[in-house]
């Protein structure tokens, strides 16, 4: 350094920027890390210090050959391509996948961190069992034998329904399918997974409106949107890479509206922000629709051709004048009107919703109201429009499609005898054998009539604890064995009751890469097993992104420690339980590992309803290898071996793989022939209702030989149309007496498409769902509401005696006024660094460092009223008795009277850190109170979705 004066320059602006830059929230979030870092290192607990040292074992080495392996991120549903660099079987580097049309190389913090999976320092390393309150290492054989024996004993005493199989959205498609089949072979419908508590109300609401319950367009297609309205979606934190496409749309001139009780990181990018009271989505949407109808902004031609029942919606919407909307939602007229006007003046527009909308007792009303808004504007079935329902986990779409769900068999076939018959044919099993696996005692069903357990919806994820605790339930005995296979219990409400349920179980089996919150939150001393599952980077198979595209993951590394791939564990159980031959009748098994491609080919043979039949392993792999040939807006391959096909063949990919259907990039888009990815609305609800025609009028897909609405295709319909002889002789044999869903040859689909028709018919979307509790979506106050004045006008439902096998309470809870003692509305949501129960990310030092404390966001006014300082520890009291301890974050992000907590934390229970209860070395680096310990009772009236987006609480300083 030479101190020679060179020049005098005026002070740069950057200096001042920097001094302001470390804002309060960052300070809290980083907990001091931001300030130089040095101070923290010395104060780290010992475990973190170890982690802080570089680990040469996983560093890239010079002079050693590097293999590049392609996989897909295992966090959210965007489906980002991952490129792993592997040296001598060790994952030493991660590169951006620029060729992927989904992420173009981009990742969020979670995606950028996936290499840590291969280090797995905090993973569950061996099978373990709890004896005398201590964790003991056991072998895989011991584990499978002991667990299997206990399951068989419970089966003997209480029937197969007393063993619950909780699956996962973290399974690959093949694993999800095999898992649902495993539960069927065991003989129970007590099988479910996270979709129940994430988008079940979407699937039910949307499928009952226009046919399929999935995202209609794609993240990429949003480039074409002229308006984008987000309601209950915080894409910047939950689907960060989607924001790449959203912000590109914005640069193309699209208007962006965000409706949310919080000013989220997504709202920070909006042109128009609409704040409203949690739980009043229907009122808000009807408020917008009120302005649309009032000003004649609806698309009248579209409605007359493609929408049924809208007049009945008009009647309901009339009640939602601006004064009533403001009374219920708290949102002023001009804000609502401006949103409506932006949507009306910028078409096509798309709607995005997520769990902010779905997790309510009226979740199915919310999702249908969103659909109606889009139908009125004529936005569905158009590029740039659509209902872009962002799914949560990486394969929650696939796991939903394969129906790891208590109310259906794979492909949404349901649980009728016809559905069992279809799948028994695909499995090549005697239907009587399958039936014989179930309990043969009929029980009183949801409607009060006797029902066979095989045809009766099982207990859902959200209510499994009631399956253990409730007395009067719709099965032979309570749940006695709980298998939590890739499931975070801290994502479910009613912690104290869950603890009680766990302690009542005969056996608790946790199969996961991590011990999870479930291993530590209870006081069991015996009969808990932990089995280490491999992550999806340690196996291979297909995965379905939110836009319905299938992608293929290659195996990056061998399973770490003693972990095994999920499908291998499934096979081991099947073998022990005596159902392996049936489970894998046409699936090759090597060393207890079922061959993944054989599983894909098996489901290709049965998934006709939603077109999972054309995506053979070879075709998916070809798309992966040539992913750079796909356009990043249309997702269509331009040249190359997949020319004209859409990336990942978004379902429905009709017919057999040989038919080479390109996939359907935008659902219900009649501007293209069905053979090229076009579609109509599905004729799912019959051809007429109360004498009114339900089929489309004057609208049909391009090139359709039937130039009007038509019903779904059956053998008889082909005969009537004179198209029967287009079938080959083999197809005729298979198709006789069958329909487009059950013809295993695919001939009916092929011929329908050959004539330009959609196999599932051409109908109108219906806005009046006569099979639901509220045929037209209406507002109902949440069970725990602070607005007692609205309960009379907008009451909840009556209690139900039996609903998914369980008594379900509504009015009897809402009858109590909790608002005096618990005056603050409590809502929950996501953080970008963590996902779901957060076990995996909180164990990953790169992510854990960025979010070290569980916190509650509280408005300055409420903080002052309650004597709370920013950063101090506070108690949150739940009206159901739990008390939670966490840090206060005072911020205007939430409105006065509302607090927000993230839901990814776990490892604490009612103020106590459970560190000592984890098996040694497996505790996550960051632990905190699980907000759902305090969140309350309340379940959707169609799907049993839990109400986690609105409850009440009290907040006080510690």
């Amino acid at each position: 350094m030479k101190l020679i004066k060179k020049q005098r320059v005026s002070q740069g602006s950057g200096q001042q920027m920097h001094s302001d830059a470390i804002d309060r929230r960052t300070f809290l979030r980083r907990s001091g890390v931001a300030l130089g870092g040095a101070a923290v290192a010395s104060s780290l607990p010992l475990t973190m210090m170890r982690q802080a040292e570089a680990s040469p074992e996983f560093a890239p080495k010079e002079g050693i050959q590097t293999e590049r392996i392609h996989s897909i991120c295992t966090h959210c549903s965007v489906g980002c391509g991952v490129i792993a660099e592997v040296q001598n079987g060790v994952w030493t580097g991660q590169e951006p996948d620029f060729e992927s049309p989904f992420n173009l190389g981009g990742h969020c913090s979670k995606g950028a961190s996936v290499r840590e999976h291969g280090m797995g320092e905090h993973r569950l390393k061996y099978p373990m069992k709890l004896t005398g309150g201590k964790w003991k290492r056991i072998s895989w054989d011991e584990a499978i034998n002991e667990i299997g024996d206990q399951m068989l004993k419970v089966r003997e005493e209480s029937g197969p329904d007393s063993v619950y199989w909780m699956g996962s959205a973290k399974f690959s498609n093949e694993q999800a399918y095999l898992f649902r089949k495993l539960a069927a072979m065991w003989g129970t419908n007590n099988v479910d997974h996270q979709a129940r508590i994430c988008h079940s109300t979407t699937v039910a609401g949307v499928a009952n409106t226009w046919g399929y319950g999935a995202m209609t367009n794609s993240y990429n297609d949003m480039h074409n949107s002229k308006a984008m309205i987000f309601i209950g979606s915080n894409a910047a934190e939950a689907h960060p890479v989607a924001m790449q496409h959203i912000l590109r749309a914005k640069e193309n001139g699209s208007k962006m509206i965000v409706c949310d009780p919080r000013f989220t990181r997504t709202a920070a990018h909006a042109d128009h922000f609409v704040r409203f009271r949690p739980g009043t989505d229907v009122a808000l949407v009807w408020g917008m629709l009120w302005h649309i109808f009032e000003n004649g902004w609806e698309d009248k031609e579209y409605i007359s051709q493609r929408v049924w029942g809208l007049d009945r919606v008009r009647e309901e919407v009339k009640k939602w004048n601006p004064q009533e909307v403001e009374r219920v939602t708290g949102t002023p007229e001009d804000v609502v009107k401006q949103a409506a006007q932006i949507l009306a003046e910028n078409r096509p527009g798309t709607i995005v919703w997520c769990m902010g909308g779905t997790q309510h007792t009226i979740g199915n009303n919310n999702t249908r109201a969103y659909c109606v808004l889009q139908l009125a504007l004529g936005n569905i079935g158009k590029s740039g429009g659509g209902a872009n329902i962002f799914r949560g986990h990486d394969n929650v779409q696939g796991a939903t499609d394969f129906c790891v769900l208590s109310h259906s068999l794979p492909g949404y076939y349901g649980l009728s005898n016809g559905a069992w018959g279809h799948w028994s044919r695909v499995w090549d099993l005697d239907p009587e054998w399958v039936k014989g696996q179930f309990s043969q005692e009929e029980v009183e069903g949801d409607g009060g009539k006797p029902v066979h357990p095989m045809n009766y919806k099982g207990i859902p994820v959200s209510r499994w604890i009631d399956g253990v605790l409730e007395e009067n339930i719709g099965q032979k005995d309570n749940i006695r064995v709980q298998v939590l296979w890739g499931h975070a219990v801290n994502s479910q409400t009613r912690g104290p009751e869950m603890k009680k349920a766990m302690e009542k179980l005969d056996m608790l089996v946790i199969i996961d890469p991590h011990p999870t919150h479930a291993a530590v939150m209870n006081d069991r001393k015996e009969g808990t097993y932990l089995l280490p599952a491999a992550t999806q980077f340690e196996t291979y198979g297909s995965v379905t992104a939110s836009n319905r595209s299938l992608q293929w993951r290659d195996k990056v590394i061998e399973p770490v420690w003693e972990s095994l791939p999920d499908h291998t564990i499934m096979y081991k159980f099947a073998k022990k339980l005596g159902i392996a031959d049936q489970l894998c009748k046409h699936i090759k098994v090597n060393n207890d590992e079922p061959l993944v491609e054989d599983i894909t080919l098996e489901f290709n043979k049965g998934m006709w309803t939603i077109g999972y039949t054309g995506q053979s392993p070879d075709r998916i792999k070809s798309h992966m290898a040539n992913r750079k040939t796909f356009n990043t807006t249309t997702l269509k391959a331009e040249g190359g071996p997949n020319d004209g096909e859409y990336f990942g063949m978004p379902w429905p990919c009709w017919g057999t793989a040989e038919m080479k259907h390109p996939g359907t990039p935008v659902l219900y888009d009649p501007s293209k022939p069905v053979a090229e990815g076009g579609l109509t609305f599905r004729a799912r609800f019959g051809v007429e209702h109360d004498g009114e025609n339900l089929l489309a009028e004057g609208s049909y897909s391009d090139g359709s030989e039937i130039r009007d609405g038509y019903p779904e295709f059956k053998a008889d319909v082909l005969k009537q149309l004179g198209w029967w002889d287009d079938l080959t002789d083999d197809e005729k044999t298979a198709a006789e007496g069958k329909n487009w869903k059950t013809d295993l040859s695919g001939g009916i689909q092929r011929v329908a498409i050959k004539h330009g028709c959609a196999p599932f018919g051409n109908a109108k979307a219906r806005t009046f769902v006569w099979t639901f509790p509220d045929p037209i979506p209406v507002h109902r106050e949440p069970l725990y509401t602070p607005r007692r004045d609205l309960v009379t006008d907008y009451p909840t439902y009556e209690d139900r005696k039996r609903f998914y096998r369980l008594p379900t309470r509504y009015a009897s809870i809402q009858a109590n006024d909790f608002s005096k003692d618990f005056p603050i509305i409590w809502t929950s949501g996501r953080l970008v660094e963590y996902e779901g129960g957060g076990e995996e990310q909180r164990s990953n030092p790169w992510l854990a460092e960025l979010q070290q404390d569980m916190f509650v966001e509280i408005n300055p006014a409420d903080a002052n009223d309650n004597g709370i300082r920013d950063g101090q520890m506070v108690w949150i009291d739940s009206p159901e008795g739990a008390k939670l301890k966490m840090k206060a974050m005072v911020t205007r992000r939430v409105a006065p009277g509302v607090v927000f907590t993230p839901f990814h934390f776990g490892g604490w229970y009612q103020g106590e850190d459970l560190l000592a209860k984890y098996p040694e070395g497996t505790a996550p680096l960051v632990r905190g109170e699980a907000c759902n310990t305090g969140l309350t009772y309340g379940y959707d009236s169609v799907t049993q979705m839990q109400e986690t987006k609105v409850s009440l609480c009290r907040i006080r300083a510690t």
């Binding site: 350094m1 030479k2 101190l3 020679i4 005026s10 002070q11 173009l104």
Partner: protein, 63 residues
Amino acid sequence: MSKLNVLLMGLVVVVLAGCNQSSSVTVHKPGVYKGASDPLLSANTEERATALSERFTMGQLDR
């Protein structure tokens, strides 16, 4: 004027003097680098510039 007032005025002057700050900063020239040589500097920079430019086009554009 009492001693106290004088003292107070003196104090005020001293305190206010602290408020005067030059709005410009002084920039100094660095010395000559004394560390080990970096082989990156002697590598073929033209070839690298082409590679980096291609990489930029591949990864940083919206495509």
